[in-house]
């Protein structure tokens, strides 16, 4: 149980939040735990859920790459909850656990990732490990593989998901039973 108890699902009557919660459950990230906790702050629950879903499942960067990045970040954040969740959309697009493990570990030496993908993984990896390394030269390297819009999409995705992972870690959230 988290330090702040989630609201019972049946007490969430806001149709917009219910719809967002349904989208999360269909995607698999987040399941109903995050929105049921966030729903305790009704003004924030909807924009935060929308941002979580949009930044992950929409946009112009490969969703499978963002899913690997999301799990890499959750492990770095020490957040067992988000680390255990998996995107059904990414799985249906062909993302495997083998690729996720490679992305979270030895991606630099892995033949499974292109140079562009390695650069994006490095962006997430270095952001909260040693942000000083994410400098002008690093952004120039990113620009060889991604448009400025894609770089901002990646950066905002990384920042938002890492922040929510640290929030869930602070609540002591565990991996959902039967995750994956």
């Amino acid at each position: 149980m988290t330090y702040v108890a989630p609201l019972p699902k049946e007490t969430i009557s806001d149709p917009e939040l219910s719809e967002l919660m349904g989208r999360g459950e269909a995607l698999g990230v987040p399941d109903d735990l995050f929105p049921r906790i966030a729903a305790r702050s009704p003004d924030l629950a909807k924009p935060f859920m929308r941002a979580l879903l949009m930044s992950h499942a929409e946009g112009n960067v490969d969703h499978r790459l963002k899913e690997v990045i999301r799990i890499l970040l959750a492990r770095f954040a020490g957040d067992k909850y988000f680390a255990a969740l998996r995107s059904r959309k990414a799985r249906d697009m062909g993302l495997t656990e083998e690729r996720i493990e490679a992305g979270c570990n030895d991606y630099e030496d892995s033949a499974l990732f292109t140079e562009a993908e390695k650069c994006a993984l490095r962006y997430a990896d270095q952001m909260y490990l040693d942000a000083n390394k994410v400098d002008a030269a690093f952004y120039n390297e990113l620009k060889k593989h991604f448009s400025e819009a894609q770089i901002m999409e990646l950066g905002a995705f990384i920042a938002f998901h890492y922040g929510m992972q640290m929030f869930m870690r602070s609540l002591g959230a565990a991996a959902p039973q039967g995750a994956r």
């Binding site: 330090y3 702040v4 108890a5 906790i37 966030a38 305790r40 702050s41 009704p42 003004d43 924030l44 935060f48 954040a77 020490g78 952001m127 909260y128 490990l129 040693d130 942000a131 000083n132 994410v134 400098d135 002008a136 690093f138 952004y139 950066g155 905002a156 990384i158 920042a159 938002f160 998901h161 890492y162 922040g163 929510m164 992972q165 640290m166 929030f167 870690r169 602070s170 609540l171 002591g172």
Partner: protein
């Protein structure tokens, strides 16, 4: 500015989430509940998490303060001249344990 015990606890939540999240336990939330409702605690947590994620990202983009010390709106080039190559907003935060 003087901080109340409630203010200090909220600041401590922010500090611990960034630097020592294992120190946030059930007892810490019991302490928070002496001053804040469940709704306020979740609002604080979401807000802190959001800022924790975004400020590091913004720091890598080399944003400089938008205003001079006397409150004048600045361009980024002007701001860099005033605040130097590494203003406080670009100082790295201590990573989580």
């Amino acid at each position: 500015m003087r901080f109340s015990a409630a203010d200090k606890l909220a600041l401590r939540y922010s500090e611990l989430m960034a630097t020592d999240p294992d120190a946030i336990d059930a007892a810490f939330f019991d302490e928070l509940r002496k001053y804040y409702s469940e709704e306020e605690i979740v609002e604080l947590g979401l807000f802190i998490g959001f800022n924790l994620g975004y400020h590091t990202f913004f720091g890598t983009l080399k944003f400089y303060p938008l205003f001079s010390p006397n409150g004048r709106l600045l361009t980024q080039a002007e701001s860099e001249k005033i605040y130097g190559p590494a203003p406080g907003s670009l100082q790295p935060s201590e990573p989580a344990k």
